[in-house]
Subunit: 271 residues, 2 copies
Amino acid sequence: MDKLGIIAGNGTMPQEVIAHCKSTNRDFFMVGLEPYVLPETLHDTPHISAKIGEIGRIFKHFHLNGVIEIVFAGGIQRPSLKELIPDLEGLKLMTKLAIKRMSDDNVFRILINEIEARGYKVVGAHEVMPHVLFEQGSYGSVKPSKSDMADIQKGVKVAKTMGELDVGQSCVVQEGIILAVEAREGTDNMIDRVAALKRTGRPPILVKIKKPGQDMRVDLPTIGPKTMEYLIKNGVKGLAVEAGSTIFLEKEKVLKMANEAKIFIFCSDFE
Amino acid sequence: MDKLGIIAGNGTMPQEVIAHCKSTNRDFFMVGLEPYVLPETLHDTPHISAKIGEIGRIFKHFHLNGVIEIVFAGGIQRPSLKELIPDLEGLKLMTKLAIKRMSDDNVFRILINEIEARGYKVVGAHEVMPHVLFEQGSYGSVKPSKSDMADIQKGVKVAKTMGELDVGQSCVVQEGIILAVEAREGTDNMIDRVAALKRTGRPPILVKIKKPGQDMRVDLPTIGPKTMEYLIKNGVKGLAVEAGSTIFLEKEKVLKMANEAKIFIFCSDFE
């Protein structure tokens, strides 16, 4: 298989990709994006650390290491222009990006075009490891009730609308009331408000879906043990995600946690 | 003038209404809703304290005190059905409210109809004290820049959409990026996330507008010294509100705070 270049952002996703490469004997080289990448991700891994603005240096090392395909793994927050200290190549790209006020999707599209213009192929994490995507159906031993399904519908409507406005991917709903909406704080921090906001009655549900029209190669919604920890800590008793476009990290561990805490995991295409 | 019944929720709005009644020699009687009303609001005020479910008792005291008009003042969070311990009258009303999953607006509409069916007239705080509403234009010594105006537009779009979905009234935007969206946590808590989320560059702006189609008699967006404290604490440098439907509490004090902190206050009808 072609050598894989991994552009590593935050979370444990980059480690999942590394583990997958190792288990399938696929060669890889990693660019750990500062300040996003977890230090342990880089341990014992062929890599350089780089700021997102150092485009020239990043491509030099991908080239020197014989990388053919490139995958984005883990979250990268869109930086403000002033936070970037670009090298010359980065400066040119940033000028393109700065031409107009752009959505995240546009920023990523330009980034991908830029990478592919240099002869690399950008692939999605789901293409590298297709088994990581959620499939339609209920996972675990708890199933959503009819009332839960109505809440899920409401949450999907809000999350999709927020996605269309390029705000965020998730919200928490309880008995028809939206308790919290994700913007820049990220899903985990958003869930962490729920303990203080939830009411007595049927417990709240997390709904997380990709932005409508989102490029599958970047920033897919991801669920893992950390998500589950936040759900448990905040008394959220259900999770609804979209089939075919949500990454399921450490599935076995997550299912064990969900079953023990009686949290349902429901997956649909929500058309 | 007709005797005014004040249904008092949280914040300093009830105290503003009391002060206004006193300065215009208008008689009033207050129902302090537990657990929302601030204890100092009830001090030296003709009142009873009541839970929102005690409808029968509330009307009995309005009747005994000769109340003709009723005004809602201050925020009341929509309670979950289980949190209510209603009396008999309250139970009947709650049954109506429980017939279907309802938006806040619907809940308030039923509540108002119920009150008016008993011969009372429900008026808005802006009718009791018309001078409290924001008018079109820029307040204070700082004006929004052209880039700020673009951010305001983006924020208005998101806040209006969230209002249509009955989620919340406000959001914070910075350089085209929505940093935070208000749901059940309320505006102040939402602003309080911004210090951790904001980037370097042009500072963030709070946009707060009423829900489209919202009944002017309940839950109008309100700006006061506490809002300003949170803006200052979090480095938010602008505030955009809607003309004719936003309550401006303690105007002089707020303008002084805004000028000192170089925060602009912009008001438009955002059509």
